[in-house]
Every structure is written in C-alpha cells, then in structure tokens.
C-alpha cells in the first residue's frame, strides 16, 4: 500500500472530473427520461472547441469555456426542440437508436473535418505540479477538478433555488402535475437538455488538456458515464456524484495495484456496469429520484 496517498489524491482529482462528466447526462435523463447516447459527443466537441481555440487564436481552454458552453447549450436546446420532442413518447428502442445515430453522425463529422489524429491543447500550467506530503499533485488536474466542482455546485444551487431549477425537479417527479403548475414542459425539457449539453462541453474543455482529443473519445466517456449513473441509480443526481468518486477510486486503485493495471483500469467501468446492473439494477443508492 505504498502509493496510498498518491492514489487518494489521484482518485479525488479524477472523481471531480467524472462528476462533471456524468452530471449532465444524469440531469437530462432525470428530467426528460430520454437517455442521451450522444452525450459523449458533446464532450468530444467541447474538447475540439478548446483545442482549436488554443491552436488558432491562442485562447486558453479555460477562457474559451464559457463561450463554448453557451454555444453547446444553445445547440442542445435547438437539437432537443427539433429532434427529441418527436420521440418523447416513442418506445425506448426508438429513443436509444435516435440518440445513438446522432452520436454516430457527430463522431464521423468530426472525423471527416479533423481526421482521426490524436490532438491535445496544452496550456503551460498543465505540465506543472507540486508536492503535497508524499504525493504529487498535477496542476492541470487540480484546476480541472476545481472547475468541475464549481460547475456541479452551481448546478445544485440552480436546482435548489432557481425558479427554473425547482420547476425542473418538479417535472422530473411528475410531468402531469408540472403542467398544472403552468410549466411549459417541452421548453423546460429543452432547457434541461441544453444545460446538460453545456456541462458535457465543459467536461470536454477540461479534458482537452488532460487526455487525447479524438473523434471517438466521447464513446469511452459515455460508457464510463453509464457505469457511474448505474452505480448511483439512474436519474439520481446525488447518487451520480457518489458513483463518480467510486469509479475514479476503483480505476485508480486498479492502475496502481494490479499488474498491467493501466490497461485493466479501462475495463473497470465495464465490469462495474455489468455487475451493478446484474446485482442491483436500481444502483447502490436504491431507486431515488432527483434530490
């Protein structure tokens, strides 16, 4: 257990990022009840946005982030109004396939436009680090985690106190009663979806300097997000936070303590997903809805 401190630091930093990665997906599912298999592509496009802002105009990813999030949010809102409102009451199969197809389109548009080359946005601070006791803390990851915590915190405040946030929680609990409150359901769905997309874009912006940017990076993140969501209970936002840290810890531990661990860490999400679905399909926290 010689790396315990380092392992803890790495898990926490990764967990914060995973929380941001998953919270958008969890939010949109909790409210609209449509699971978005194209959420990974919002992350991917956010990462490319940050990469190009850095490469073309020398804009730091963190400065580009608000603009990219705004664009992503608008795109998500419009997309929902055009495509998703048509399938809200369709069978699950149609919803799955529509969002899956949308993801496929976005992946391959990215592939066609920007090729499959691995890229990375590298602002200077990404490479620095400092010592904390026996452990090394990478500044890039720390900043990423801090921003993730800020955004997730902001989302919670919005859900708890904002007029629209409260309305979206009500909508998640009972759509018909929400209509009777005078809530414009389709618009609220689209707003939630837009916020979800914006959070995905933010995740990608942070990822652009921490991992390779490729057209297919989103798929991997999508599967990890599913593992986390399933771990925390579908539609349960608080559960998702717990799940994110659990997965981060499991992956980090595997990569430190298992021989060949870096490779096997990639399989942790799949194993978690598979076994949780089999043993406890409602997640570790049971069937709670939005808190």
């Amino acid at each position: 257990m010689e790396y315990l401190g380092q392992c803890a630091v790495d898990s926490i930093l990764l967990g914060g990022l995973y929380t941001l990665m998953v919270i958008g997906l969890s939010l949109s599912f909790g409210i609209t009840r449509v699971i978005n298999f194209a959420h990974g592509e919002a992350i991917m496009l956010g990462a490319y946005g940050a990469y190009w802002a850095m490469t073309l105009w020398n804009v730091d990813p963190l400065i580009a982030m608000p603009v990219l999030m705004l664009l992503g949010g608008i795109a998500g809102y419009v997309l929902f109004r055009i495509l998703f409102t048509r399938i809200l009451s369709a069978p699950a199969a149609n919803q799955i396939l529509l969002t899956f197809g949308l993801g496929l389109i976005l992946q391959n548009v990215a592939l066609t436009l920007w090729s499959g080359d691995q890229r990375s946005a590298n602002p200077a601070y990404v490479f620095s680090s400092f010592q904390l006791g026996d452990s090394t803390v990478a500044v890039g990851r720390l900043i990423g985690c801090a921003i993730a915590v800020l955004l997730v915190g902001g989302l919670f405040v919005w859900l708890k106190h904002a007029e629209a946030g409260r309305a979206s929680r009500a909508l998640a609990e009972n759509g018909e009663a929400a209509v009777l409150m005078g809530i414009n359901v389709n618009q609220m769905y689209a707003i939630a979806f837009g916020i979800s997309t914006a959070l995905g874009v933010a995740t990608g912006t942070i990822m652009s300097s921490l991992s390779a940017v490729t057209p297919f990076m989103g798929f991997n993140m999508l599967v990890k997000s599913f593992a986390i969501i399933v771990l925390g209970g579908l539609g349960n936002v608080m559960g998702s936070v717990a799940g994110a840290f659990l997965l981060a810890f499991a992956e980090t531990a595997v990569s430190y303590y298992v021989p060949n661990g870096d490779g096997w860490a990639e399989a942790v999400a799949f194993a978690v997903l598979f076994f949780v679905l089999i043993l406890r399909p409602r997640g570790i926290a049971g069937q709670a809805v939005m808190e």
């Binding site: 699971i35 298999f37 495509l83 048509r86 399938i87 369709a90 699950a92 199969a93 149609n94 799955i96 396939l97 529509l98 899956f100 197809g101 949308l102 993801g103 496929l104 389109i105 976005l106 992946q107 391959n108 548009v109 592939l111 066609t112 499959g116 057209p215 798929f219 599967v223 599913f226 593992a227 399933v230 579908l234 060949n260 490779g263 096997w264 990639e266 399989a267 999400a269 799949f270 194993a271 997903l273 598979f274 679905l277 089999i278 399909p281």
Partner: protein
C-alpha cells in the same frame, strides 16, 4: 389467377435464397464480395431484429461476433480446427454467451439491457487486448496457411448460413414464439401472467441470436484470415446490425433482409460517391438511423406495405389520412 400469384409471391424468398447461394459460383469477384457482405449482414440483422422483437435492444452485437471469431480462430491456431468445426464451435460458444447474458440480465429491459450489451462488447474487447497469451492481444492472430479454404467455399458457407438464419426467422414467425416475443416486447409482466416464462424465452432468443452472429463472425474470420480485438469487437458490427433492421423495418421478417441489401447498396454507393473515406459510410449510417427513426419508423418494408395497401384501397386510405389530418 390470384392463387397462382400468391404462391409465386411465396416462392420468391426461396428463389432469392437459391440465387444467393448460386451467386457464389459466379466468377465475378466484385459480385461475390457484395453477396458475401449481404449474407453476413442478413445474419446479424436477422439476429438483432429477433432480439428487438422481444423488446431486447442490443448495442453489443459486436460481443457475439467477436466471441465467435475468437473461438474459431483460437481453435484453428491451437488445435488446427478447420472451417466447419470452427463455425460449429463458434455457434456453440455464442449460444452459451447468449444464455449467460440472459441469465445475468434477468429481467433488465430497455435502456438497462442496452447499456449492459454495450458494456459486454467493450469489456470483452479490453479483456482480449489484455490477455495476449491467450488471444494474441493487440497484435492479433493469423489463420494458419494449411487451414485456408477456397474463396468459393466461403461464399457458399456465408450464403448457406444466411439462408438458414432467414429461414429460421421465417419459421419462428409462424410459431407461437412470435406472439410470445410480441407480448414480451409490450409488457413482460403481462406476458408472464399469460403463462409465459420470460426467462426461458429470453434464453432461447439470446442463444439463437448470439449463436447466429457468432457463426457469421467465424465465417468472416476465415474470409479475412486475420483477427485482432478491434476487428473482432468492432462497433461497426453493432451499428450495421441495428441499422439494417431499422432501414428495412423493425419487428418484421422481411425487414432485416431488405435492409441488409439496402445497406450494402448504400455503403457501396457512399464508397463510390465519396471515396473510401473512413467516416463517410458511418456518417451515412448515422443519417439513415436518425431519419429512419424520425420519419420512417416502420422501415422500407413498412413503406412498401403501405404503398401496396394504398394501391388496393386507394380512395379509402386517402379519406382516412384526410380525416386524420383534420383532427
């Protein structure tokens, strides 16, 4: 007259099947290749559709395909098992995986089941990469020279397998099995109350579906002569298997077959039209998937049925649409 016409209609599938097998003996490599692609696609889409008919949306057909491919390839490299043995082994291993998946997923449905299959395929891919001693890892496995068979034999094998799978789906559609599937798709608890044991049906469906795809994976492995985790567990398989059913018409017998032919035509068209760009065909698939779900959820076959019905009862149908729109 009418009798003759309908029995002719019924003979068309059999004739098409014979034509597919016969095409293997035509000495035109391009045609052979198309037919082989169509055969493989018919198998995976018939299998996908069979599962979808029972409400089990698969996003992990690559898992079945890859397991069949690896079973036959490993048996060939280690034990020298030839093509026929390899295919039989692959079908058996695939069916076993199907049963295990059915037992493991229990009563999971819809999104949960879909996510589970997705995880299965990706998890198996990573596992294969991580066990190079058993599977050859990322550097892959080559089919031993001694076991290679003439291409014609592979084309025949592919076509025969496709005909068997299509025939099996036709046969299943005529038994009470299809009613059970539909009942499960609509409401599994209700199906249970009708006296069906959903788990047994699930095991049967998954074993048959997975076995079909695994067998196709084995034949395709012999055709390619090489296997690595990205080839075996390619997302492409998963995508093609669902898209053919949707384009052709979900929940019908003819849909996946019509869809398989249409998809091969589409991917050849994009290849010829846009060049061999790696993203072009997938992009086209995505567009077909989205537009198909939005505007043609019953697929080409459903469209054809509507047109056919429209020709018979033209005026009546038009009235119905008019009243529908007036509402």
């Amino acid at each position: 007259m009418r009798m003759q016409a309908s029995s002719l209609l019924r003979a068309i599938p059999a004739l098409l099947g014979l034509a597919l097998i016969a095409s293997a003996f035509v000495d035109m490599p391009q045609v052979n290749d198309w037919m082989f692609q169509i055969s493989m696609l018919i198998i995976v889409s018939v299998s996908w559709n069979l599962m979808a008919s029972a409400g089990l949306v698969s996003l992990g057909h690559a898992a079945f395909w890859g397991v069949g491919s690896y079973a036959s390839m490993i048996a060939a490299t280690r034990l020298g098992l030839p093509l026929v043995g390899g295919v039989v082994l692959a079908v058996a291993v695939g069916a076993l995986l199907g049963c295990v998946l059915a037992l493991a997923t229990g009563r999971l449905r819809g999104i949960f089941f879909a996510i589970c299959t997705l995880a299965l395929a990706e998890g198996l891919r990573v596992t294969t990469v991580m066990l190079p001693d058993q599977t050859g890892g990322a550097s892959g496995l080559y089919l031993p020279q001694a076991l290679q068979v003439p291409r014609t034999a592979l084309f025949v094998a592919g076509a025969v397998a496709a005909v068997i799978c299509a025939a099996a789906s036709v046969w299943l559609a005529r038994t009470s099995f299809s009613y059970a599937c539909r009942a499960m798709r609509n409401n599994e608890s209700a199906a249970q109350m009708l006296g069906l044991d959903p788990l047994r049906y699930r095991m049967a469906i998954l074993a048959i579906s997975a076995g079909m795809v695994a067998g196709a994976g084995a034949i395709s492995t012999w055709y390619g002569g090489y296997l690595d985790p990205d080839v075996a567990f390619s997302m492409h398989i998963t995508i093609e298997s669902q898209i053919a059913s949707i384009l052709g018409g979900m929940y019908t017998v003819a849909g996946p077959i019509v869809g398989a032919i249409a998809i091969v035509a589409l991917s050849e068209a994009t290849r010829l039209g846009l060049g061999a760009h790696e993203g072009a065909s997938q992009l086209a698939y995505g567009v077909v998937l989205v537009l198909g779900i939005l505007f043609m959820p019953r697929g080409l076959y459903g469209l054809w049925c509507d047109l056919w019905a429209g020709r018979i009862a033209g005026a009546g149908k038009a009235d119905d649409t008019a009243t529908e729109m007036a509402r």
